[in-house]
């Protein structure tokens, strides 16, 4: 019996290694070839160079699109936090007709393929007289970012002990005081994590942006256009940089959420 167990375990480990290879091999290849001396991605690699990073920095449309993307991600995340966090609080605190429906509607843009949300917002904005461009992209992004912020903060609020809120109010704190001194400190890591996720989702978004951008290009839209206009090796370089940033973001957000769990355990 023991032997069969270890045999099963070997198969499982082999499968896990294959799965991880499948997940990571393509992106590792891109990172590796961003330092390739040759301008084609073939085997074996030509030699080591930082040349494509220099080319990338001097690619004006690419840097412009990066600035655009950061702008959209920043404004979109701010709107999502300013609307989503109070919304989550309201849903946590009050009962009202349509609450269940609201819970479902808010996550629709995350559940449905981006193309559906993209064309829906496009047809609406066209009727409303808002042209494709910066504003349209910001409105579209904010909408699906609310769908990531609100559920995350709402979940965190529901894990909170309701007693601390009551205690605060029994001790004479006003609603605002309770929010700023009692609730906010307890949900701040969830809010921060949601903001970080929103920012990175917005930076990477294509399907909604694709229908709303017009001539306003964001970074992934620009990269997409570059891949279609024949091969340019600086794509490897820009992708590698984004990869590094996302890996840092995920490690960072995971470490703060771990801290949060410890905190929650201590308070209970």
């Amino acid at each position: 019996m023991k032997e069969r167990n270890s045999f099963g375990k070997i198969i499982l480990i082999a499968a896990v290694i294959l799965v991880l290879l499948f997940l990571y091999f393509p992106v590792v290849i891109v990172a590796l070839y961003s330092f390739n001396k040759d301008s084609i991605n073939s085997f074996p690699m030509g030699g080591f160079t930082f040349h494509w990073y220099a080319v990338m920095v001097h690619n004006q449309p690419l840097t412009t699109s990066l600035v655009n993307s950061v702008e959209v991600a920043f404004i979109g995340t701010c709107i999502a936090i300013l609307i989503g966090v109070p919304g989550a609080l309201g849903m946590h605190k009050y009962n009202f007709p349509g609450k269940k429906a609201l819970e479902k509607v808010v996550i629709l843009p995350m559940m449905l393929p981006g193309i559906i949300t993209g064309i829906a917002i496009l047809t609406f904005l066209e009727m409303a007289g808002i042209m494709q461009g910066r504003l349209a992209v910001i409105l579209g992004h904010s909408t699906f970012l609310i769908g990531t912020v609100l559920p995350q903060v709402y979940t965190r609020l529901r894990q909170l002990d309701r007693n601390i809120e009551e205690a605060s109010q029994d001790l004479g704190a006003s609603g605002f005081q309770t929010f700023f001194y009692v609730i906010l400190p307890n949900i701040k890591t969830a809010v921060f994590g949601a903001a970080l996720l929103s920012f990175s989702l917005s930076l990477d978004e294509i399907p909604v942006t694709y229908f709303l951008n017009g001539v306003f290009t964001t970074l992934p839209i620009r990269i997409l256009a570059m891949t279609r206009n024949g091969f340019t090796p600086e794509i490897n370089a820009i992708c590698t940089l984004i990869l590094l940033l996302s890996v840092f973001a995920v490690i960072f957000s995971n470490s703060i959420s771990k801290k949060d769990e410890v905190y929650a355990k201590n308070t209970h």
Partner: protein, 299 residues
């Protein structure tokens, strides 16, 4: 209690922005899309005249394979393939992190390895497969370097194979996460109990672990299926000229060069309806299994 007015003010004050925003930029747009799908595409502009023409155009089955409804069926087939592959690939990893590692440090490391791909850029993942599978790409140049072939093999890229491979790679993380969560919630003593009662690990897996992980599997599979149903980028980057055009590409075309928004809206509505039906169904199935879960715990 004493400040009834201010309490109401607070309630509406914090709920109104989200309700108004979602109304304006989500609910009304979805209904607007529905309305658009019943309008006529005139020679110069969209005519606000009711017609069913967009739907009959979509569903009219002509001889030959170019009828859009066939593309829908083909996309369905591709999405199903992607879903099955993604579930099969995700399960061992999700299982291994939960039950295969005892060391907490390793567990954390593998967990990170599993969630990082969720944060990696879509366009990077899709693009990486074009440089691996392309005619002058890595795989071909490797095969030629190794002397296995002397001419580049064209069959790797620009077909359904490359589209499915890339989509599986892209959507595995979406399946992995809910799967991991539902495996994590299985009480470890349930497994001990099963083994104490004489079940071997294979039996324990099929009788205890797998049934309890089903809600997560279903959630993940639903994600993979809906996302690949609506994906127009992977087919565009990795698919062939016509053979691997998917339903979302036809929608994309109507809002682009074909400039027939009402028709595009109609196809969008068809996709939307299919997905909403699917979500309702999987929601029911999931609830059923979660109920089993709770009853099992009580018993």
């Amino acid at each position: 209690m004493r400040l009834h007015g201010s309490k109401d003010f607070m309630k509406y004050g914090i709920l109104a922005p989200v309700v108004i925003w979602l109304m304006l930029f989500l609910i009304i747009p979805y209904f607007n899309l529905l309305m658009y799908s019943f309008w006529k595409n005139g020679a110069f502009a969209v005519e606000h005249v009711f017609t069913l023409g967009n739907y009959t155009k979509f569903f009219s089955v002509k001889r030959g394979s170019s009828a859009p409804v066939w593309v829908l069926i083909d996309t369905f087939r591709i999405a199903l393939t992607v879903t099955v592959c993604a579930v099969v690939i995700s399960y061992p990893l999700a299982y291994f992190i939960n039950f295969g590692i005892k060391n907490a440090k390793f567990k954390k490391m593998f967990y990170m390895l599993a969630i990082i791909p969720l944060w990696i850029s879509y366009v990077m993942k899709a693009y990486s497969w074009t440089i691996i599978l392309g005619t002058h790409g890595l795989l071909n140049s490797f095969l030629m370097w190794a002397g296995i072939t002397d001419k580049p093999v064209g069959m790797f890229l620009y077909n359904d194979f490359s589209v499915v491979t890339a989509m599986v790679n892209i959507y595995v993380p979406f399946v992995l996460m809910p799967m991991y969560t539902s495996l994590e919630q299985i009480p470890k003593n349930l497994i001990d109990a099963s083994e104490d009662l004489g079940c071997n690990s294979v039996r324990t897996f099929f009788k205890v672990v797998f049934p309890l992980s089903l809600p997560g599997v279903i959630t993940g599979a639903t994600y993979a299926f809906t996302l690949s149903m609506g994906d127009f980028l992977a087919p565009q980057l990795l698919g062939g000229a016509t053979s691997s055009t998917k339903i979302a590409n036809i929608v994309q075309l109507q809002f682009g060069t074909s400039n027939n928004w009402p028709y595009g809206a109609a196809i969008g509505v068809v996709i939307l309806m299919l997905i909403l039906i699917l979500l309702a169904l999987t929601g029911k199935v999931e609830k059923h299994f979660s109920k089993l879960d709770i009853e099992g715990e009580k018993a």
